[in-house]
Symmetry: C2
Subunit: 143 residues, 2 copies
Amino acid sequence: MRLTERKIAAALRRHGYKLTPQRRSVIRAIASSQDHLTPAAIYLKVRQDHPSIGLVTIYRTLDILVRLELICELHAGGSCHSYTTGAPEHHHHLICSNCGEVIDFSGYYLTELEQRLSRETGFKIEGHLLEFIGRCQNCQQND
Amino acid sequence: MRLTERKIAAALRRHGYKLTPQRRSVIRAIASSQDHLTPAAIYLKVRQDHPSIGLVTIYRTLDILVRLELICELHAGGSCHSYTTGAPEHHHHLICSNCGEVIDFSGYYLTELEQRLSRETGFKIEGHLLEFIGRCQNCQQND
DNA sequence: ATATAAATGATAATCTTTTTCATTTACAGC
DNA sequence: GCTGTAAATGAAAAAGATTATCATTTATAT
């Protein structure tokens, strides 16, 4: 279950940030997309509503949204620095290497492995990054 | 078990690439470091041996080494585009969020999860990215 | 020793991301 | 509804990161 535009906007306000039309538009761009978008791609989308928006505003908004964990940054498949809508619960991603579609999956926990690592290395584990990359059904057929 | 400078160099040659002093030096920079280095950091290190080396050579060498899977690219902890020595077997990384030390761990397989995802989504899974981030023992003490 | 394809470094071009700062705006409080 | 104020925006430029081009150099097979 992905966060909707409404929920992201509400969370922004709840944290004391102003809800400007530009920010709304950035959120909409991300929330309305099945796949992950780079800052430049978001910029292009948002400019349809706000022709005079600056790329800076995109970067600033993305920073905040990532920090509040309302959107996720993806890494697998060569595309660092691209973003997709967040989700309220702990989850991971499955990304299509062809079309970029992102599927969330939850219910998988790395607690045991985390404990093993902690025990064996003395690390105090703070987080992890787990992403799968593959071909979605659609892209398999059209090959 | 990490690949040594020797092994990486040998593998390069085996794949038909020339073993230049510059490439040797890039490999040494990465292999001799406990943690992960950005292209710029590698550039600085290598310039001690090769004051006239170009940053381009660093990028070109990194490209090749990644493609041959002789070095790994790290993503967790904010530092995309940084590199550490590869390993001959399937493994994952544990990265210190403070000093950047990288620990490899192996013996963990995601086959079951992979099958579940494949079954549930129809994706043909090609690979994955699993990295943990945390504080190493040293950095926990010096806080 | 030599020929040759591959690799290098200098330079410039192209992105991408950050800084700075004057102007504008969302919204809390009245 | 107004209004004051801190926060947000956009323009412009600076700073960083990455890639392209090309003449020169070099590793290595023979």
